[in-house]
């Protein structure tokens, strides 16, 4: 056995992985080779010193460390729970975000906007006087009529739906409305109207 081989066996021994025949041959080599004997002694001593140091020094972290760790934890968890939910439901999160943005934009629109708006395809026969939108008797609106922020007075005929937003309507006995009559004066109703309208607009494009 050469000294290089012996050194590697010494380490095996110190790793607790040298048994039987190999252990004996190392022993034999150590008895014959003073330099390896010295080497082995030094390794053994270094090893013993390391183990001794560990056994003797019972290092401990400061006592308030547990408190510090525990305090730093709950806030972390809330954030995580929230984030995890988001990660687990990407579609719902996107939908929620969409609704939120819609809600804010429409509410701000609903609050700020008080101009009279009249919408419809055929407005030739409609008479606008101040905030009053009148469909005179005998005349006919072909299609839908939408009045925002005003009063609708129907004496004649509307072939489509009549929608009144944030206003009121008056329907004379002579009036004929073929479609639905809807009056919207609440933010939420209006929001719903907006959303469904957006979708139908998109669908028709």
């Amino acid at each position: 056995m050469d000294c290089k081989q012996a050194t590697s066996l010494m380490h095996e021994y110190l790793d607790d992985e040298l048994f039987g025949e190999e252990a004996l041959s190392l022993q034999r080599h150590l008895q014959e080779c003073p330099s390896c004997q010295m080497h082995f002694k030094e390794l053994e001593q270094a090893e013993l010193m390391l183990f001794a140091t560990i056994k003797r020094s019972s290092l401990s972290a400061s006592d308030e460390l547990v408190d510090r760790i525990m305090k730093s934890i709950p806030s972390q968890q809330k954030q995580r729970a929230w984030l995890q939910w988001v990660k687990r439901h990407p579609a719902l999160t996107a939908a929620a975000m969409f609704l939120l943005v819609m809600l804010f934009s429409t509410i701000s629109l609903w609050n700020s906007d008080d101009q009279l708006i009249v919408k419809g395809k055929d407005l030739d026969h409609v008479v606008i006087n101040g905030r009053t939108v009148t469909v005179p008797s005998g005349s006919k609106v072909a299609g839908n009529l939408t009045v925002e922020n005003g009063t609708a007075e129907i004496y004649g005929e509307v072939e489509g739906n009549l929608t009144v937003i944030d206003g009121s309507y008056y329907q004379a006995s002579t009036a004929k409305i073929l479609g639905e009559v809807r009056s919207i004066d609440q933010a939420l109703d209006w929001l719903w109207y907006r959303i469904t309208n957006t979708f139908t607009e998109v669908a028709y494009r």
């Binding site: 390794l43 972290a61 760790i69 934890i73």
Partner: protein
């Protein structure tokens, strides 16, 4: 038996039981602290590592494989954090090292003083200091293996699990680290 106790605590802590988690911290904080202290030779940084380790445990419970020993997972997190720190520290490392070698006595010398050793055991304290410096001087890749071996008394296969490297690599590093320490301690022993 200790393992069994661990497994129960880990299960409870994983389900969000804060008290069980605090118990786990209490059981392991000193071990992790000791490991980090030997790696970094700095009390303050070592405490940071303990805190960071448990935070990571708390945040990453879903990554913990119950087939694995909890301590192995814990040591792995702590060792990686320490290695990261050592890497970041490198630019200043030479300055520090130079100072230590020349004077031998500076801020670091005070550190072994808080290792709760009775003053009467002066000789032992000196030996401890010698070892402290020897370990400190170990190159980082040998350091983690040597520390896990001698401080945590882990087997070679456990070390290979913690460091996520083959047993043969662990062996080579341990042998080189041991030789390094032998040379450092050669003329200082007894």
């Amino acid at each position: 038996m200790v393992d069994h106790f661990d497994v129960r605590l880990v299960k409870l802590a994983r389900q969000g039981d804060q008290e069980a988690f605090a118990d786990l911290v209490d059981v392991y904080k000193d071990k992790i602290f000791h490991l980090a202290y030997r790696m970094l030779s700095n009390r303050h940084e070592a405490e940071d590592i303990v805190q960071e380790t448990f935070l990571r445990v708390y945040k990453n419970w879903e990554r913990y494989d119950e087939k694995q020993k909890f301590s192995t997972w814990l040591y792995r997190i702590a060792t990686n954090l320490c290695i990261d720190r050592l890497r970041k520290r490198k630019p200043n490392y030479y300055l520090d090292a130079g100072m230590n070698d020349q004077e031998g006595l500076d801020g670091y010398t005070l550190i072994p003083g808080d290792e709760r050793t009775p003053e009467s055991e002066y000789l032992l304290t000196e030996t401890q200091q010698t070892i402290h410096y020897a370990i400190e001087g170990l190159p980082a890749k040998y350091k983690s293996v040597v520390i896990l071996r001698y401080l945590q008394e882990l087997s070679l296969s456990e070390i290979s699990d913690v460091l996520d490297m083959p047993v043969t690599t662990v062996k080579t590093r341990l042998h080189r680290g041991r030789e390094f320490l032998r040379k450092k301690l050669q003329h200082k022993v007894l």
